[in-house]
């Protein structure tokens, strides 16, 4: 858990992409990667550094689905619901995961901050449909049972 904001992450990203308006998305992606969401505290910082109003940064952050203003879980589980995954029954996987973790379409992150379950429109892993991605790792040809087993194994990592 990253509780205090480490601004050096932003500084490094700004250094890399340039202190200009057009670097905003790249810098936000870096922030999202490191903090796993876009903390409110970084808005005034980026506004001053990149010369963009906080309102505009908020506009960009709310436009793209990939950016989150809320803290995500340690494990972000993305259930692919693209056409290939959908026809090979991705929805039951999603439902099983939500049921197992007590989540819904509105409540996406568990209270203990361990898991976030969301859908994506395509992971580009259609040949392994239905696919699930946990953080940066793809889990191919899933079904509800395998998904639950995956969650349990991840919980085991936590308890270990």
């Amino acid at each position: 858990m990253q509780d205090t904001i480490d601004y050096s992450v932003l500084d490094a990203a700004i250094e890399e992409f340039g202190a200009k308006e057009s670097s905003l998305i790249a810098v936000l992606q870096r922030a999202q990667e490191v903090y796993r969401y876009l903390p409110a505290e970084i808005f005034p910082y980026l506004s001053a550094k990149l010369g963009i109003s906080e309102a505009k940064i908020y506009g960009v952050a709310t436009f793209y689905e990939n950016f989150s203003l809320e803290k995500k879980g340690k494990y972000v589980i993305k259930v692919c619901d693209g056409t290939a995954c959908h026809v090979r029954h991705s929805v039951p996987i999603l439902e099983a995961l939500r049921k197992e973790l007590g989540l819904s379409a509105e409540k996406k992150t568990t209270d203990d901050g361990m898991f976030t379950v969301e859908t994506v429109s395509c992971l580009g892993a259609c040949s392994s449909a239905p696919a699930v991605m946990v953080n940066d790792e793809i889990y191919p040809t899933m079904n509800p049972d395998k998904a639950i087993a995956l969650v349990i194994s991840l919980q085991g990592v936590k308890n270990a």
Binding site: S53, A55, K56, Y58, G59
Partner: protein, 561 residues
Amino acid sequence: MDKKFMTIDGKTVEINGERNILEVARKAGIDIPAFCYDPELSVYGACRMCVFENERGAIDASCSAQPRDGMVIKTNTPKLRKYRKTVLELLLSNHCRDCTVCPKNNKCKLQEFALRYNLSDVRFPNDYNDASKDTSSYSIVRDSKKCILCGKCVRTCNEIQNVGAIDYGFRSSKMKIVTAFDGEIANSPCVGCGQCAAVCPVGAITVKDDSEKVWNALSDPNTEVSVQVAPAVRVALGKEFGLKEGEPLMGKLVFALKALGFDKVYDTSLGADITIFEEAAEFADRLANGGVMPMFTSCCPAWIKHAEHKHPELLNNISTCRSPMQMFASVIKHEYKGDKKHVHVAVMPCTAKKFEAKRDEFTAKDGSKTVDYVLSTQEIIAMIKTAGINFAEAENCPPDNPFEEFTGGGVIFGVTGGVTEAVLRFVSKDKSDKALKEIAYTGVRGLKGVKEATVKIAGKDVRIAVVSGLANADALIEKIEKGEVKYDFIEVMACPTGCINGGGQPRAELKDRILRADGLYKADEAEVKRASDENVLVKEMLSKMDKHLKHELLHTTYIKR
């Protein structure tokens, strides 16, 4: 010469560097409808009302299409009418249609176009997001259920004012105009200039209405209500009463305010005269004694708030003078000798004045605000109409004792360059018409966003800049901070062209602003005394004040926000 022509609705029109087909058509007198297009803003191309049809029957938006030599287009065909009607129906389908209780009733573009395109029915269910209004600002009210997402407010806030309080948030059907984190506008860097309300074609952003509180004060027999009227108001209300745009109508307005029940009516031009005395003295002092330079003017409350947000390093460069409204109000409240409760109202072209009046710095001895209520020009017009006063036929009345005297120097505060010109008149020993004319030609006049002049004062070359529009101010400040330019005196007005185009005025296109500026200069020329130091009343008043009292009544401080 290679002249270029295009044909619009069978009319041959010359193309002369216009930025789009829409401008060419409007030049030819063809009024293509548009919500999101504004000649002073960038092209957004969102509303799709300004469509045209080419020879092959293809449809495109005239705001984002370039005119080409030999082009033949039509702007009013069955296909286009159908297209526009559908656009209107879609806009109306998620628009709150309670027109009769909307502040923009009868001034709304959506209403106007629905009528113009003879819309008799909307095929889609009326389903809008019934979010509550944002009434957090003293200056404006935001009502998202009236918003048609034309983006004029966003572009004005960013491009003209460089404030960036609002932007487009979310996307698709969830898109809306937001502040950062979709919070209340009062907690944003909004400066309250009201230019967003001025450009809003519908009722999504409107001027905060404080008239009810003033009506209550007026009907209370135990309250004496005094009112001051800013210079720019007098040239902005004629059209609303069937008179000419830009005609100076202070005399009629005094009559109307008396008829509304105001006990004392004063002219803020006197406050402007006081400001000139104080500001000129402060400038001379800074110049002679090596004070912080350059000195920025402090009349405009939107500029002040902007500087407090964005330029805290400049707060010592801003004149400590209160605005004319605040100086005058402090004096009026200080001098009030009556037994009744005293309420002071200011009629202003400005929405930022509503915020200024609430600032902690401006509290009278009795604990009240020095200005109890600020009414915009729009609100006072509405009140005059409510009372059924025949404004067009009203007699001309002078302002009341004991503050009846004012000069032309105070009157021209209402237009960009006016404050500077008044200062130059003040410091000029020669007050002849010829001398005043020379001052007028130094470069301080005209409606350009940035003006420069160099004037000799007390043997020294004084470099002056006059800016209106906060984006222009920010660009100038950047140049100053980089050392590219150097000035001694800088006049800043937040609204482009100054108070004549204030956020609280009836909407003024550029051509209307020219008329309003002319009207103010006409009113100035009608005065016998045109330099503020000729105001005997102010001179005597100031001579009786000691340094401490002047500080208490006429000067102020700023805070970093």
